[in-house]
Symmetry: C2
């Protein structure tokens, strides 16, 4: 394919950054793909594996780049931008893979030189595995890739096309809308799974012997990386407060109905919860009439279109 | 194989009962397998599919049975036993597939005629699918099958052998120990997943578009059958109260640390939760030194042995 950006520089080569580099290179979305991180052994590894065309120190590597992808933890992104800002060319686009968007939108644009643009992204891919050794050219295949709608439409179209070229399913949101949505659909489930994991301190010895597939599925996200998730949850603490309180409230409601031994009330309550889940789940949409306008997303050729709910 | 019971009567032919019948017949664990339920169309279906050798009305079908498997909802089991008790032969063993054991152990033995025995079981298999149309001869393959240790060792050995013959991994517990363990490992995750599902009432429109594989895994158990789970949660309300309170407390702890924006404290907290999860998970055992005695389980030939943690 014709490269969407001529020189793509990825800052940070962990699971996500390594996968962005490898996918951009192997799918031709970047004319030349450059890796930058301060850990020399990771750079050598990325070169040896053929994930990148060249490597360098961040402030040097970004010279001439038309796309810079920040793939460091969220809390480190402002410092990374300060370091590279003097080297950025006019027209350069800076994006990122951070899980929280409003705090970055509030901070990063002001750190860029005139003529460079920030377009936040959030490719919702990854796993509890980490490190470039687990990177994959297919990591973004079919994954929601949220691109910010924040006032730079031409650059936003190009960034959307980049994620589409990497296999992602592009979803467009403004930063606050993104943070609210992921607070509900990703951060709250993680918080509940972490709370459950912590509570298991009180489980009797040998309880593990009665754990089945439900336990394994439910707890999978509780194995996530503590450093990454502490970063995400605190960065999104404002959008997360409401969902956390709502879940705690519903748990208390259910506990009261169970304690009252009112089986019919509990049944109605669970049935209502299951209906809500179906309505709030992507798969559930297919069962609903199309009476609510759907949010828009961009297709792979960059035009806005109705979001497809079958894929 | 030599049948473990000559005449196995399964009362209730839903997903679990249908699978018990089919597995017992196809694996030869029962000499003759009989289905009984009051819904005539289900009986005809079971016969037509070859899941059972014969069908009948419960009080008639159990005549001459040496094993009766109660596969009705927990709340209906006492009535089912009252109905069949006059027809039970001396030496007959009654077991069940209920998810809660102490209330049944307190009730059912007193309803049986002299010379018949109750041995509670809990095969931890199933799914959010239901009905005999989803039954499978392999449903219990590798699934934990908990058999009660409640004072009838000879009959308990036979019931354990029956579940082993159906492919289950037998785990032995007393009723209170079972209810505590499943309260932590199964009922609490369901309660948390139901509470999350109910809370989604507050999620913004279109939030489903950012739902990924973590959301799907975490919410899978929230699609479970409301009638079944209302029955389970209320029946186990005493053992569940402590785990529910613990999870609510840990969720509040995490929420406070996040709100305080103390990223390092949140990271330590999540790391601790993850360690607890690993210790409390079956897979985690393999990483630990073998310094604690493990609970015992019976092997497929019926002898007590150390529980294997690799399989």
């Amino acid at each position: 394919m014709t490269p969407i950006f001529e020189r793509v520089v990825v800052l940070g080569l962990g699971l996500l950054g390594g996968s962005v580099a490898l996918a951009a290179k192997s799918r031709g979305a970047g004319g030349r793909v450059v890796g930058a991180t301060r850990r020399r052994e990771v750079l050598e590894d990325a070169l040896a594996r053929g994930f990148v065309d060249e490597v360098g120190e961040p402030a040097d590597a970004v010279r001439g780049a038309d796309l810079v992808v920040l793939a460091t933890p969220v809390y480190a992104m402002a410092d990374a931008v300060r370091r590279i800002a003097p080297s950025l060319a006019t027209g350069a686009v800076v994006t990122d893979v951070g899980s929280v968007k409003a705090p970055l939108q509030d901070t990063l644009p002001g750190l860029l030189p005139r003529g460079a643009h920030y377009v936040g992204s959030h490719p919702m891919a990854g796993s509890h595995l980490r490190g470039i050794e687990n990177a994959s050219a297919d990591l973004f295949e079919g994954a929601p890739c949220v691109v910010m709608d924040a006032g730079s439409p031409a650059q936003e179209e190009r960034v959307a096309s980049f994620w589409s070229a990497l296999g992602g399913r592009v979803v467009v949101r403004d930063p606050a809308g993104h943070d609210a949505a992921v607070g509900w659909m990703s951060h709250l489930p993680h918080a509940l799974a972490f709370a459950y994991a912590a509570a298991l301190e009180g489980a009797p010895a040998g309880a593990d012997e009665v754990a089945g597939s439900g336990f394994r599925d439910f707890t999978r996200i509780a194995h996530s990386e503590p450093e990454l998730w502490a970063d995400i949850l605190t960065a999104n603490r404002k959008a997360l407060a409401g969902p956390l309180a709502a879940a705690a409230g519903r748990l208390a409601d259910l506990g009261r109905a169970v304690e009252a031994d009112d089986t019919e009330a509990v049944e109605r309550w669970i049935a209502g919860a299951r209906d809500t889940l179906s309505r709030a789940s992507r798969d559930g949409h297919e069962l609903r009439s199309n009476d609510n306008p759907k949010p828009t997303a961009r297709s792979s050729d960059g035009r806005k279109e109705r979001t497809k709910t079958t894929s």
